[in-house]
């Protein structure tokens, strides 16, 4: 096996393939780069930048993958009674977790996920101006696309890991270590033909107006502040990635929703983690 690593999606993306399949790894990275370009919050030419600039009511043409990601994001928004929400960008910019990205007035973006309408496979319409951030779901989607690129190229087994959101395939077990919220690795699991994502925010806090902030927004717009780590196992990485955000705030709900998608929360022997 060989592993290559590139800085993409704001993190380190590793792709592991059998020796001799380097060309397939290149194609797999290209799939991640495509997601990076389309769904970056920061980059001016991304779909998210164009949706920020969109006039309410106008159908905006975006990449078909952006539509796919937003479709699932809206399904999860409804399934979690609004807890999974890709429109927390305003709060994240304000607290400093996302860059200002040239946005003059955050108050100009009052919309929520309820204001996002999928018109067709290539168009999105916004009822109000919305600050969309796909940071909680696009990495998982990118991992799935990277895996598809490998299987399409006839690769028999492999692993794609985008900063801790990973998926493995092939007729073998892949050992995966779990990094706890304090950055320490205490446990490992064997994964086979599945995706896994983990979230924590103990080491990723900021202060804003005297209040401690995290990049995970819970009920009532309150930041989720937990010392724990959650890990979600799912058939697809987009689900695992997205549902860690729900699991951070409400593990019970996340478990119920994951059951409908064929996934589950991985209980961590070390916790007490999830409050």
């Amino acid at each position: 096996m060989i592993t290559r690593c590139r800085p993409l999606l704001g993190t380190f993306v590793e792709i592991t393939v059998p020796v001799g399949q380097e060309a397939a790894a290149d194609r797999s990275f290209a799939a991640v780069e495509h997601v990076h370009r389309a769904m970056s919050f920061h980059e001016g030419g991304s779909d998210l930048a164009r949706l920020r600039a969109a006039t309410p009511g106008e159908a905006i043409e975006v990449d078909a993958e952006t539509v796919r990601v937003l479709r699932l994001a809206l399904d999860l928004f409804r399934a979690t009674d609004g807890l999974f929400d890709v429109t927390t960008g305003r709060q994240l910019v304000r607290a400093g977790f996302l860059p200002r990205a040239g946005i003059a007035r955050l108050a100009a973006f009052p919309g929520t996920s309820a204001d996002i309408e999928v018109v067709d496979d290539h168009h999105i319409r916004l009822a109000r101006r919305v600050l969309i951030d796909l940071g909680g779901i696009a990495k998982g989607h990118a991992v799935d696309r990277a895996i598809e690129a490998l299987t399409d190229a006839g690769v028999a087994e492999g692993l794609v890991n985008a900063g801790g959101d990973l998926r493995v395939f092939g007729d073998r077990d892949w050992p995966v270590a779990l990094r706890d919220a304090d950055d320490v690795v205490r446990h490992a699991v064997q994964a086979r033909n599945c995706a896994m994502a983990s979230s924590a925010n103990l080491m990723n806090r900021r202060r804003f107006r005297g209040q401690e902030q995290s990049p995970h927004i819970g009920r009532g717009g309150r930041p989720v502040l937990t010392t724990g780590r959650v890990s979600v196992v799912a058939p697809r990485c987009i689900l695992a990635d997205a549902m860690t955000k729900v699991a951070m705030a409400d593990p019970e709900l996340a478990g119920q929703v994951m059951a409908t998608y064929g996934g589950y929360l991985l209980a961590s022997p070390s916790n007490g983690n999830c409050h």
Binding site: R6, P7, K139, P175, V184, R186, C194, V233, P269
Partner: protein
């Protein structure tokens, strides 16, 4: 939260607390990275460059990041006599990791690609929060390298590649200051 066993996933029993692992991953050698970044090049010729203080200042001004070494590791990618681009091998220190990466830059100053060569997480396993330290005190460290050697794949909170992004910006400035007119 209930614990369900799933046929696809089984917990590996008891891996002890790893208190100070030196996570390390080597992805590519310099030579492999050169060919991965500019595959059509026939040769890579080392270019000795010594940046003078004025150039170092200018790189910092252009990129916002200090260029620490005045002797960067640079190769010219050649096809016959034609310069296809440049490969620069550089290092950044992240939050607590030491990363070597290679950036390929076209003759007109565009990024052709970035590959991570190696990754050293020198203090990644340290428990920095005393509350956590107390909680796990007394759990013996049986084999500190077991996880490192056997389990390169980690699921956990995302590590930012911000320092690489800043580094690439700095190398673009270096290119414009020292290489763009080198032909």
């Amino acid at each position: 939260m209930s614990h369900r066993n799933w046929s696809h996933l089984a917990a590996i029993p008891v891996l002890a607390v790893v208190s100070a692992p030196a996570w390390a991953a080597d992805y590519l050698s310099v030579e492999q990275a050169q060919h991965a970044l500019i595959p059509q090049a026939q040769s890579f010729v080392a270019v000795p460059v010594t940046l003078n203080p004025a150039q170092l200042t200018q790189i910092r001004r252009l990129s916002g990041t200090p260029q620490r070494t005045s002797q960067p590791r640079i190769w010219r990618a050649l096809s016959g006599n034609a310069t296809l681009g440049w490969v620069i091998v550089d290092e950044v220190i992240g939050k607590h990791e030491f990363i070597t990466y290679a950036t390929a830059i076209s003759p007109d100053g565009h990024v052709l690609g970035v590959e991570i060569l190696s990754y050293r997480e020198t203090k990644g396993g340290q428990v920095r929060d005393p509350r956590w330290r107390d909680r796990f005190r007394g759990k013996a460290l049986t084999d500190p390298f077991l996880l490192n050697q056997d389990i390169p794949n980690i699921s956990g909170a995302t590590l930012s590649c911000r320092n690489i992004t800043d580094g690439v910006k700095r190398l673009l400035a270096l290119h414009s200051v020292a290489l763009a007119h080198a032909g």
